[in-house]
Subunit: 237 residues, 2 copies
């Protein structure tokens, strides 16, 4: 059997609502839909991923937030399998063909944002998804994706300090903070580059559950938490 | 068509060497084999993953090591899709049905190690894979998996400090270090809990490429590196 013929045959079977082939380029919402829904009663974290996302932007916060009680973390993407800038791939739990009610929308940064800022369907998805998210947490140049909408306008916000000129050039209306490990304003938590997201995540644990819970997770992960948002060793010049 | 019938039919098609369905329980080496080989001339990092691995144990080192020049990182697992303790899933690039020549074997820890220490096929795989690895880097309770073999015997080694009693009880023959952020002895780099792996990874960058390269990656990731292996705030009592 030719590969093309097999794929065509498999597609017909898939259309009947069965299972999907593992093909990076082929989105299959049947598989994702089965895992898209959050468990009732959980604190719902939805994390956007895209090719060339920066590994620690996502997984630092996932580590810390994932130790909070009664928490569920789902990945959302335009494709079912997404490759990080460092190589390893993750599996999306649901697709950006829909938006989802959630408690925290997590948006990492990375080299992928350099082209994604021009992705109009993603921009529209973000606007709608932000509307269905209780809070929004950006890490690093993830802030750039939000800056392409107007949702941060008038808000204090920060971003990666090596990319500060680029991100702030995209939108003059947020109150950009050149010296901040993270900023929380309105419903938006924005953090500085890469590792700052991990510090901001522990702030979020403290915000939701108190200092003792943040301390518990810090100890559990043997982490050296920079707990002061104004202690920013990489402040933009 | 019943689901069971479809799966049976799909399996028969798969046996013809075409494409694989996305089913967590179903290993398909056809898909993995296509990405198992490292690119010639790259620094080859092979990272073991398993269900309930601890997110940052893996992705902290992946972040830092992934910024080294000319480096390729592949995930290896017993199944094609693996779920972290925090929820998000990764895709294995190759399977533990084979061993692979590599420059650095990375072994994260996590709750999954509590049962994996009794997995005899994995233990045998580790012994063979360590033999094909130039260096081996364990994070957190990833050290427990190595401690179930004799490869660390006589070597200085460390592990997660909250799990120190458990890990050291598995094998009395390594020279266990109760106060160490990380230890490098022979071909083995072992680190303390979770975040310590990220510090140890930057040490490894320095070891391979010098202090300036470690500094470059530290700055790029806005990381507050604990660069002193004896500075261990979580030392075992």
């Amino acid at each position: 059997m030719q590969r093309r013929q097999f794929i065509k045959g498999a597609s017909m079977l898939m259309a009947a609502g069965a299972i999907a082939p593992l093909a990076q380029a082929n989105i299959n919402s049947q598989v994702s839909a089965s895992t898209a829904a959050f468990t009732s009663g959980k604190y719902r974290i939805l994390a956007l991923v895209f090719d060339d996302y920066e590994t620690l932007d996502l997984h630092g916060p996932v580590e810390m937030l994932g130790h909070m009680p009664n928490t569920e973390i789902k990945l959302v993407a335009a494709t079912e399998i997404v490759r990080s800038y460092q190589g390893p791939r993750v599996v999306a739990d649901c697709l950006t063909t829909n938006t989802y009610d959630c408690d925290l929308l997590l948006i990492p940064g990375g080299m992928g944002t350099r082209t994604l800022i021009n992705d109009l369907p993603l921009r529209q998805w973000l606007i709608e998804q932000v509307g269905r998210s209780q809070n929004v947490f950006t890490v690093c140049t993830g802030t750039a994706l939000l800056a392409m909408t107007s949702v941060l306008n008038g808000r204090k916000a920060t971003t990666n300090k090596m990319a500060f000129q680029w991100v702030t050039s995209l939108n003059a209306n947020p109150q950009w903070q050149a010296k901040a490990r993270w900023v929380f304003d309105g419903k938006f938590l924005t953090s500085s580059g890469v590792s700052a997201g991990t510090d901001a995540a522990l702030f979020w644990v403290k915000h939701l559950h108190g200092a003792a819970e943040a301390q518990r997770i810090q100890t559990l992960t043997e982490y050296d938490w920079n707990a002061d948002p104004l202690n920013d060793p990489y402040a933009a010049a």
